[in-house]
Symmetry: C2
Subunit: 195 residues, 2 copies
DNA sequence: TCAAAATCTTGCGCAGTATGCAAATTTTGC
DNA sequence: GCAAAATTTGCATACTGCGCAAGATTTTGA
């Protein structure tokens, strides 16, 4: 836990920049705030801003948490029903996301009307999906099915966050429950009388 | 079929710009080509380029086909098994996409390493997903399940294209078959012993 | 058929984005 | 403390995207 000063500073500055970006960005939309304004608000020079992030959209997204390695291993080796195991992984992951709801909400605001930010987030999801598909391959022979499950799983996270944003008085956790239930219902509907 | 000259011109110029963008973009990556180069290649001024598209990434994506209205109505009103109906919709849609495989392949190239372009495409998919979820709501009580199905459906298109790009000697249609089979398998796996 | 109205193209100018480079500053290890 | 390593910063530069107004083209309607 005792990282060198330099690394702690770096981490902290990155967070400050992300916060400044999100706060200014949620007010009037990220497109209407300049990188210079963000840099000033974060207390660094414009040039330094670009040392931390390639662009303001990346700064808004920041460094979202990845799937926890131990959770992935648990998913790979478990023999419980697949749906239960995946749901457990999602619950764990959402707990991490729920640690800073303020940021999560602001990220949502920015994503709503910024295509570039969505693209950047999409990149993150893509790599998570790949990682997950790799793990799921160990539990099923069919590669395409593993990809499909990975797709369903990662998109459940986004759907849950979206539901949590739009409904009032709902926790992230119950939002995920509702979304997951929807996916389970959808699975049943698709399986019915399928050839 | 006899549109005014102005509209036909407009449509044609848009296509020329898209082609120029994709051809230059696939060579060295879209980031390494300037809007001015694209404009020159397309035979218009830089300013006109921006009259047609907000940015070069949007020019690369162009105006992808949407779900056909009659197909959507058919899906809504059919009483056949849901999986069959959705597959039929997807087949129709992919046929339209397959009409210009050259463009489709170049779009894929550009998307691979351009976040902004992915974000723009994501916006298209989002609206398609909404449209589809609206339709699916008529066939099931559960809103979340409709959203989930819409998600699965639209992502099958992307997966199919991706598979078609990476495997040699495979048609778009058979790529979709494989992907869809994967989704069906995934559905069955999720349904097994689910509470 | 022709002139007015509507629409489109283009050049110019300007604010903002992003990066390379080198000097100044800060942190680290000793 | 001090030299080496890493970081921040200002400056220069190329590119993006759009407002504006002038000029060109197409459509409309008599």
């Amino acid at each position: 836990m005792t990282l060198p000063l330099r690394q702690r500073r770096r981490h902290e500055t990155a967070l400050q920049i992300q916060r400044a970006t999100l706060e200014l960005g949620t007010e009037n939309g990220l497109d209407h705030v300049t990188t210079e304004e963000i840099a000033v608000a974060a207390g660094v020079s414009t040039r330094t801003f670009f040392n931390y992030f390639h662009n303001k959209e990346a700064a808004a997204i920041g460094h979202p948490p990845e799937f926890c390695d131990t959770d992935l291993v648990a998913l790979r080796d478990s023999t419980a029903p697949l749906a239960e195991d995946i749901k457990r992984l999602l619950d764990e992951h959402l707990n991490k996301l729920a640690e800073d709801e303020a940021i999560l909400r602001m990220v949502g605001n920015v994503l709503r009307d910024n295509e570039k930010a969505r693209g950047i987030l999409d990149g993150f999801l893509l790599s998570q999906r790949k990682e997950l598909a790799e793990v799921l391959c160990h539990r099923m022979a069919n590669r395409q099915a593993a990809d499909a499950l990975a797709f369903i799983t990662t998109s459940a996270i986004g759907s849950a966050i979206s539901l949590w944003e739009h409904e009032n008085n709902i926790t992230l956790s119950t939002a995920l429950d509702r979304v997951w239930e929807g996916f389970m219902d959808a699975s049943k509907l698709l399986s019915q009388r399928g050839e």
